[in-house]
């Protein structure tokens, strides 16, 4: 029997202004019907390029070379673009993308988008296509599929849109489904459901599935074999269990080590000099947002925070957990003084925040944001960015400020040669280090880190978390860490507060909350966190 997919010695190079970049080097992969292949790697590893090459979606400047690139016995490079679009892309190979918020067309109804391809190709009549679409929506777990057909994408949540995308690709009954980071943009509780759905559908329909992800733990649970890519090369390939529990290559081992895990000893140690001083204390914070439709429309109220009380003691790390929309970022903005609460009071070391002058506040609390690509001014050099808080406080002269900048860069392990670089010359991890250096330069009492690692690769995440832990130890820093990742909490936090729909639903020490959650929502979050299964992790004896 011919293989469903047979790729031998695939090379992809991109013409960049600075020369040729070999995005994919000598990659060979095979896949049988009904089999699931996971491709794992960090950003820039070439995993998406490999998938895009199959769909002929490579950027214009890309050059492709392969000894064999065959789908179900058919050599793909032999087909011209028209035949490929008519016979392969869609009916034979379907693809799901990362961002469900932008992969549906906002101006057409769900029904029209689902049936369009089948009708246009003359595969189904309008009524048959509609019936099939309703069935598929029902199958992927969309409630009231009949009613949903007339709705627009903005009326659905991110998870539902991703389900619609999956149903849409199934309309043409493809033999191979490529899912490129299908759950990265979704909340963890939704992530598990979508992955289970993909896995079930594959078994049901005997489809081939290629699951591309940066998360080795997630992929290994749901695929038969796993390929690990690093810098364009395939460093390891094999049965999922083997790659997971007996990794051969150093890089795979490093990747496995970087994943924060719920079992095992936390790297975190108890605070050095914990006292009962409340560095940050929030009492009964409520924040209402009012909006109007148009200039004279009716007023609408949204209660983003509802009576939240919270305190962070000196030297401790408090983790604040919750889904997107739970109000945790609004709370962070209020604690930073960027937003005013509708009622309630925030105080820093006993002084009400509202009475502190803005530049004085910088002495107490500084932020580290989620996305290092928007948190640094692209027009300023590192030296200016890090020194800016000092300039605003009129602290010292240019000489002493430069010394402070160099010291802060040393704290976050940034090489001094980057002093005059622009943010665009740095990688994501380096940028996040700059953001931390800027936050530290005023020697604040506390840091508020809003998802500081969720935009970063898993190995970089491990480095940044380690850095925050080191800084806490060296400087006795107090940290409020906002995250959605239970494993990160387990590794770094002393105490945990769980937020759900604008309220704090559970609070306690990290050990207590993670072992006996009393709240439903906390339990769901915990269940959704990827686990390593039963096999003994081999990473231990690798050391």
């Amino acid at each position: 029997m011919t293989r469903l997919l047979d790729i031998q010695n695939l090379d992809i190079s991109l013409a960049l202004p600075g020369g040729m970049l070999h995005a994919v080097k000598d990659v060979s992969l095979t896949l049988d019907r009904g089999e699931a292949l996971g491709i794992v790697g960090e950003s820039g590893s070439g995993k998406s390029m490999t998938a895009l090459a199959l769909m002929r979606l490579l950027p214009r400047s890309a050059r492709l070379k392969a000894a064999r690139l065959a789908f179900d016995g058919q050599d793909l490079p032999d087909l011209d673009d028209r035949t490929f679009a008519a016979t392969i892309a869609g009916p034979r190979i379907g693809m799901i993308f990362q961002e469900p918020m932008t992969s549906l067309n906002p101006v057409y109804t769900i029904g029209r988008q689902m049936t369009e391809a089948a009708i246009a190709r003359g595969l189904l009549s309008a009524s048959a296509a509609r019936k099939k679409a309703v069935d598929l929506l029902d199958r992927v777990g969309i409630p009231d599929p009949e009613g949903r057909m007339g709705q627009f994408p903005h009326q659905m949540s991110g998870g539902q849109r991703q389900r619609v995308m999956i149903a849409m690709t199934l309309m043409l009954d493809p033999d191979l489904l490529i899912a490129d980071e299908p759950t990265t943009a979704l909340d963890v509780t939704v992530q598990a459901q979508i992955l289970d759905l993909l896995d079930d559908l594959r078994r049901e329909r005997q489809m081939g599935l290629i699951l591309i992800s940066h998360d080795l733990a997630v992929v290994a649970e749901r695929t038969d074999k796993v390929a690990v890519m690093y810098a364009g090369e395939l460093v390891e390939q094999g049965p999922a269990k083997q790659v997971m529990f007996a990794p051969q290559h150093d890089y795979t081992r490093m990747l496995l080590d970087s994943i924060p895990r719920l079992d095992g000893e936390p790297a975190h140690v108890a605070p050095v000099r914990k006292t009962d001083d409340e560095v940050i204390a929030a009492r009964d914070i409520t924040r209402l947002f009012t909006s109007r439709k148009g200039l004279f429309g009716p007023r609408r109220e949204i209660r983003a925070l509802d009576g939240v009380s919270l305190s962070v003691k000196r030297g401790e790390t408090l983790a604040l957990i919750g889904e997107s929309g739970s109000g945790k970022s609004t709370l962070a903005r209020i604690l930073l003084g960027l937003d005013q609460p509708s009622s309630g009071e925030v105080s820093m070391l006993g002084r009400p925040l509202a009475e502190l002058p803005a530049t004085e506040r910088a002495r107490f609390v500084q932020p580290v944001f989620q996305d290092p690509y928007t948190s640094l001014n692209p027009r300023r050099r590192l030296s200016e960015i890090i020194a800016r808080p000092l300039v605003l406080r009129r602290e010292g002269d240019s000489g002493s400020r430069l010394a402070a900048v160099k010291e802060a860069m040393e704290h976050v392990r940034l090489p001094a040669r980057l002093l005059h670089a622009y943010p665009s010359q740095l990688s994501g991890g380096q940028r996040q280090r700059v953001a931390i250096a800027r936050a530290l330069v005023t020697r604040p009492e506390a840091l508020i880190c809003d998802e500081p690692t969720s935009a970063l690769d898993v190995s970089v995440q491990a480095q940044i978390l380690k850095l925050l832990e080191d800084l806490r130890r060296e400087m006795g820093l107090t940290t409020l860490l906002i995250t959605h990742d239970m494993a990160v909490v387990h590794e770094t936090a002393d105490r945990v507060a769980v937020m759900y729909q604008g309220r704090i639903v559970e609070e306690g020490t990290a050990a207590d909350v993670l072992s006996n959650p009393t709240n439903d929502y906390t339990a769901r979050l915990l269940a959704a966190a990827p686990r390593f299964g039963d096999g003994a992790p081999v990473t231990e004896d690798a050391r």
Partner: protein, 306 residues
């Protein structure tokens, strides 16, 4: 930290290797590597030099009339002579000298009007984009009102009422050309304002004024430069239109637009009277646009067209 061994080289500049060059070197490299910029800046430089040294360059007094030397053709047309390289106009004034003096009017009005528009448009745009709410509503209303007015007609009416002079023309053309600045800077300010580096500055205690000048303005710069050079061209053409219609620069002051207007009756017999000032206008406007595109590429941190 053993894990750092596996950082993925995404671009050659990833490890900051580019910083081996000093910022000045990078800037100069880009400046002299950009053909479009070099051509545009060269044209503008030549025209500015001509404008400044007009009295030294011009072979004749641009105002001196000579009835005996009326309507002479340029030297390459039959009947031309070397005394008047580009011929003379209907009053016997040397056409080359008038073109040379005309650069002064065009450059002054172009720069002046584009600057007036910039000050109005950018100020309003940043205020509307940064503060939003009622300020935004009010300024957007102003924009709609401005866009609903027929610009050239209004300019003609205003010049007619106030009386023509170079300063009045600058003021009026400028006041009528701020809408592009407003639209672009307002949208860009809204986008930049929501980015985390603005929040980081606010958390360090920066006031709105400090945020606007230090965080937002540098990011608006390339857009403003491009609109400025674009508006420079438009303002020069607007002056020409007004002068052509008789409500801009008044004779006998030499202006390219006025020269085209004066030459139009004889256009079919002596086409150079219209073509020559037309070429001058074209070169000035295209020079401004090329220089603007080049500056945008050079000043952006990532650089473009490298």
């Amino acid at each position: 930290m053993t894990s750092t061994d596996f950082s993925i080289p995404v671009t050659p500049a990833e490890d900051g290797a580019e910083t081996a060059l000093t910022p000045g070197q990078i800037f100069r490299q880009r400046l002299f590597g950009h053909t479009g910029f070099l051509i545009g800046a060269g044209l503008i430089l030549i025209i500015v030099v001509i404008a400044i040294f007009a009295p030294l360059i011009a072979p004749h007094d641009p105002f001196a009339q000579s009835l005996s030397a009326r309507m002479l053709p340029p030297v390459w047309v039959e009947g031309g002579n070397w005394d008047y390289l580009l011929g003379t106009d209907q009053n016997g004034r040397d056409y080359l000298s008038r073109l040379i003096y005309g650069t002064r009017v065009s450059i002054t009005i172009g720069l002046g009007a584009a600057t007036v528009g910039l000050l109005i448009g950018v100020t309003l745009g940043v205020i509307a984009g940064y503060f939003g709410g009622w300020a935004d509503h009010a300024i957007s209303f102003l924009l709609t009102a401005q866009l609903a007015l027929p610009g050239l007609l209004l300019a003609m009416a205003l010049v007619f009422i106030i009386g023509p002079s170079i300063w009045v023309v600058i003021g009026i053309v400028g006041v009528l050309h701020w809408t592009y600045y407003l639209v672009v800077t307002r949208a860009a300010t809204q986008r930049i304002r929501s980015q985390d580096f603005v929040a980081a500055a606010a958390a360090s205690g920066a006031s709105p004024r400090q945020i606007i000048w230090h965080e937002i303005m540098p990011n608006l710069l390339s857009a403003i430069i491009v609109i400025f050079t674009f508006e420079l061209g438009i303002a020069i053409l607007a002056e020409s239109s007004l002068s052509f219609l008789g409500v801009g620069i008044q004779p006998p002051t030499p202006s390219w637009g006025l020269m085209i207007a004066e030459g139009k009756q004889a256009m079919f017999y002596r086409p150079w009277l219209v073509i020559l000032p037309g070429i001058c206008l074209f070169l000035l406007v295209i020079g401004a646009n090329l220089m603007g595109d080049g500056l945008r590429d050079i000043t952006s941190p990532e650089g473009r067209n490298e």
